[in-house]
């Protein structure tokens, strides 16, 4: 986290153009301090780093509806999902999109969540996930008219992102997650660029893109920043991390037979997928 803050600061220092900081979901809990604080350490850190928006995935809703409402109140950025609704009356549980105004440009950002996002035990409200393509088809045409750049923050997975781009013209960029691809370059489906980068915060993705007035991407370059110790800890973020480590000390680990199996399991099933496979709908 502290390395990521340094990498973000370095990028902001050398780039005085339009820069957005986004997270594509399943971010708030999983690791010890984050889970024990119900995402507080993550939200506090992301707010300090200047995140502009995140979408909601399963590992965000896992803290339950009350806690996620508290985290949203603490955050300096919106949690977005246009397709998670209350089951009985279809009322949205989150802000569906945001419009930001930066550098004389208007940017719309829509959040879309995966079908499994609501399958978490702590969610008290009966919720359901609407079809993301149908929701985007309803939202994009009107929003498109009001913004210069339209981004979807998606936790649908790369293949579904490709299908979304093919089915819903007008989306400029899909920043995705869930399938944990390490993408050397963005996929392009129609005029939509699709990107995602890894998992567990080990990388920071950078996408530089230019769109002309017709919405055609004329340039796009992705960079993959691996957050090695070449990036010094940002002191402010390091202090936040330390505070939560003191608040929630980890129990002394007891070796078990499963410990030896975990790395292999991660390599096979839960590691980053280096092979991008965005597939447009046929």
């Amino acid at each position: 986290m502290a390395r990521r803050a340094t990498a973000i600061k370095q990028e902001l220092e050398k780039n005085d153009g339009l820069v957005l900081i986004l997270d594509a979901g399943s971010t708030l809990v999983g690791a010890w301090e984050a889970s024990k604080s119900l995402g507080q350490v993550v939200v506090e850190s992301m707010s300090l780093m200047g995140y502009d928006a995140m979408t909601v995935g399963r590992m965000d809703l896992a803290i339950g509806d009350e806690a996620i409402a508290e985290r949203q109140a603490e955050a300096s950025f919106p949690f977005l999902s246009a397709n998670i609704v209350r089951a009985d009356d279809d009322a949205l549980l989150f802000q569906p999109y945001v419009i930001l105004e930066r550098k004389d440009r208007r940017i719309g950002i829509i959040g879309l969540s995966e079908a499994e996002a609501v399958a978490v035990p702590l969610l008290k409200v009966r919720a359901k996930v609407l079809d993301p393509v149908e929701v985007a088809q309803a939202l994009v045409p009107s929003l498109r008219q009001e913004v210069d750049l339209l981004i979807v923050l998606s936790h649908l997975g790369l293949e579904a992102d490709g299908q979304l781009a093919a089915a819903v013209p007008g989306i400029d960029i899909i920043v995705g997650g869930n399938t944990r691809q390490l993408m050397r370059q963005p996929e392009r489906v129609g005029n939509t660029l699709i990107i995602q980068q890894g998992y567990r915060g080990e990388w920071l993705g950078v996408l530089r893109a230019t769109f002309d007035a017709e919405g055609v991407p004329t340039e796009s370059v992705a960079e993959l920043i691996t957050l090695t110790d070449a990036y010094a800890d940002d002191p402010q973020l390091a202090a936040v991390v330390e505070k939560y480590k003191e608040l929630y000390p980890q129990p002394t680990p007891v070796p078990t037979p499963e410990d030896t199996a975990t790395p292999a399991a991660e390599e096979q099933g839960e590691g980053a997928n280096p092979t991008p496979t965005a597939k447009p709908a046929t």
Binding site: L22, A34, A69, Q72, I99, S142, H155, G205, V206, A213
Partner: protein
Amino acid sequence: MIRQECLLSRPCRQAKGIRLWLAASLLIGSLLSGCGKGKAEAEPTPTPSAAVAARSSEAQNTPLGPELPTATPSPQPTTEPATPSQAAATEEPTAPATRARQPVQVTILHTNDVYGEIEPCG
């Protein structure tokens, strides 16, 4: 169909509050200034409350909520008193003014599936 309100998002609720307050102000204003005249002035801007709410939010660099009038095809959850002309206007899919799209050069810094990792790399 999606109801255009959100239950867990504070900015959303704030924007809705602003919208209701503005709608009430407009109604009172039209009553005080003469109903006929007030209606005529209100008609060219079918959803003035949403537009004004958007401007005020942007000025504070606060994220905007789902206040755009045609965000989804479902009816707006409106408690605002609507004149017949306003009701008709909100049914039109092209109610918001189309603005000329500008070219954009953007850099996006992004993460996903962080799973609450705070160290060493995350």
